[in-house]
Amino acid sequence: MSSPAVAVPSRGKPAKANLSGAPVRRLLAPAVIFMFVWMIVPLVMTLYYAFRRYNLMMPEVTGFAGITNFKLMFTDPTFWDSLINTLVLVGASLVITVSVGLGLAILFNRTFAGRGVARTLAIAPFFVMPVVTGLIWKNMLFHPVYGLLAWVFRHLGLNPIDWLAQYPMLSIIIMVSWEWIPFALLILLTGLQSLPEDQIEAVRLDGANRWQEFRHIVVPHLGQVLYVVVMLESIFFLTSFAEIYTTTSGGPGTATTNLPYYIYQSAFFQYDIGISSAAAIGAVILANIFSIFLIRFVAGNLNTGSRR
């Protein structure tokens, strides 16, 4: 086994020279094929269907549709509702997860008795599947009769709230945030732990109080990490589906219908693959706008922030 490995250096050629003869294309092929089948093909198919007449209820109506699907989508008030709902959900969840996650990260960066256990517990929600999250919150926490929150409210002498009916969007935001705070916590905590101790000491000797220390040293240090958290989370929040599907089903009315759920509804309730595909293209564009905007904003912020 080891003889060819030994033979290579003994020929006196640098390893790089041998690499040029390696079957680079063939070695890359599995990854490229995988990417192609899982990303490019569905994307192209979606693009194709978005311009086709393709309603499962009317199988005989086929053919090129032009921009009809997009016209129908843009005139559909549900689409606009879902767009606004998506933005509200993403924005609110981002604010909550990042701020609570940062607070918890600062807390867990200190040493206290039982930190290991507490940290594990704090991270646990991340390992719960979205569907299970939805079911747990719906049946065990939010439920107006059997739910934990209802029990607490009754013990405080208050009327239990039917969360999913009265505050549907807030409920979804709470669930999504609950699920994703651990993610923000984990990443921000590793960021905090990579902050050199002597910088904190230097800034203390420079006369900074706790807030100035946080504002001028900790936050700039976390800049990159915050960027990663916001970036990844907004991509995940844009595609929130399971929590909505298992709890409110987009309701009441369109109160919690976000873009993914709108796509799902058009395809599997109205059986209109064309409109669904058009909406999916819309979602792709939205995701790209989001990420470009974020990259610009955060990168710019990093550069100017470092000058301050």
């Binding site: 000491e201 230097a202 420079d206 006369g207 100035q212 240090h221």
Partner: protein
């Protein structure tokens, strides 16, 4: 500009069953002069950095008091002690430009912008980094970062400077340059400075007074010259000076002036002559620095205060030659003139400069000599 006074300062990191024997720093007493350059030196883990961090307030003290200009700061937060520190890793703020790094402490003090700019420019000029003010720390070389770290301390015009091995991350040549530069800077600013290092050359060249520490205890506090001439014990004697002192074990002779065994007989002369009066017959360790041994030609009639042995190692350094000579059971290092040719395996005779000898008690390892009072 301040007088720093450490009184019975103790640091104990606690832990199970820890007592005074576990003290990281044990009853540290030192009063500086105004504007003095104090070097804390010792091997790793001797407590020198801990002592400095206690002065800074980054470590709590377990006992004793630290005062600056008569004001007890033992319980004062680091930010209120008016102390600036230069860290071994420099600890520059990576997201700020050099200017902002230096201006940061002044901004926190809410000084007017004009004054901040003036002070930073002034310090930058002194340190020769005025052309780097817009750069980020990561775009600087090690030596430049070092200067910025110094600048950040200078602009604050603090009462006390603390420097924690600031030169240890620089290459050898730059270290020598910066060494001189820091000394020059200190002379100019005349701020009381504590400087921690494990390098005895740095300590000797920079310190006005040197605190030699071992295992949390002060071994000796003295000027470089007196540390070299009158080390208080074997540790200090071996620590100060390169190559380090040779130690030979013998007995104080009946004449109360000599230390001898079957391999040598060395008689103290000069100021040291009478020092052994009370110690006749005690086991003693005699210390000779390599530079106080000189080559003796084979036909030279001198026979007193001579070590004879066999050359084991010859290390020509250009200006001088270091040789190691086996004298009985002892390996003795000597520094001889480079024009002398000695060959390995040959017998050699070395003459001792007897007015420079050190004599230590073999059990307590303390010096038996009486250092003259400091001038």
């Amino acid at each position: 500009m301040a007088i720093v006074e450490l009184k019975d300062v103790v640091k104990n990191y606690g832990g199970k069953g820890s007592d005074a024997a576990d003290n990281a720093v044990d009853s540290f007493n030192l009063t500086t002069k105004d504007g003095e350059f104090i070097v804390l030196v010792g091997p790793s883990g001797c407590g020198k950095t801990t002592t400095m961090r206690m002065i800074a307030g980054l470590e709590n003290i377990s006992g004793g008091t630290i005062s600056i200009d008569g004001r007890d700061v033992s319980q004062v937060a680091p930010k209120d002690r008016d102390i600036a520190m230069v860290f071994q890793s420099y600890a520059l703020y990576p997201h700020m430009s050099v200017f902002e790094n230096m201006a940061f402490a002044l901004r926190l003090k809410k000084l007017p912008d004009a004054e901040i700019t003036a002070r930073v420019q002034e310090a930058a000029k002194v340190l020769d980094i005025a052309h780097l003010l817009e750069r980020k720390p990561r775009a600087l070389s090690g030596g430049q970062r070092q200067r910025v770290a110094l600048g950040r301390a200078i602009v604050r015009q603090p009462q006390v400077f603390l420097m924690d091995e600031p030169l240890s991350n620089l290459d050898a040549k730059l270290r020598v340059d910066m060494r001189a530069e820091i000394v020059k800077l200190h002379r100019k600013l005349a701020v009381t400075t504590f400087y921690v290092t494990h390098d005895q050359v740095e300590a000797m060249t920079m310190g006005q007074r040197i605190v030699v520490m071992l295992n949390g205890k002060i071994q000796q506090i003295d000027t470089p010259q007196r540390l070299y001439e009158w080390p208080a014990n074997i540790f200090v004697a071996g620590f100060i000076g390169t190559p380090s002192m040779n130690f030979l074990r013998g007995k104080v002779g009946a004449d109360k002036r000599s230390v001898a065994n079957e391999h040598f007989n060395l008689t103290l002369t000069g100021a040291r002559g009478g020092a052994l009066a009370a110690h006749a017959g005690t086991e003693a360790i005699v210390g000779i620095r390599p530079e106080h041994l000189s080559y003796l030609a084979p036909n030279d009639p001198i026979a007193e205060n001579v070590l004879s042995g066999v050359v084991e190692v010859v290390e020509p350094l250009g200006s001088v030659t270091m040789i190691q000579v086996q004298v009985g059971p002892y390996r003795v290092t000597a520094q001889i003139e480079s024009h002398l040719t000695v060959a390995m395996g040959e017998p050699i005779r070395l003459r001792c400069q007897t007015d420079k000898l050190q004599v230590f008690d073999a059990t307590s390892e303390q010096s038996l000599l009486q250092a003259p009072a400091a001038s």
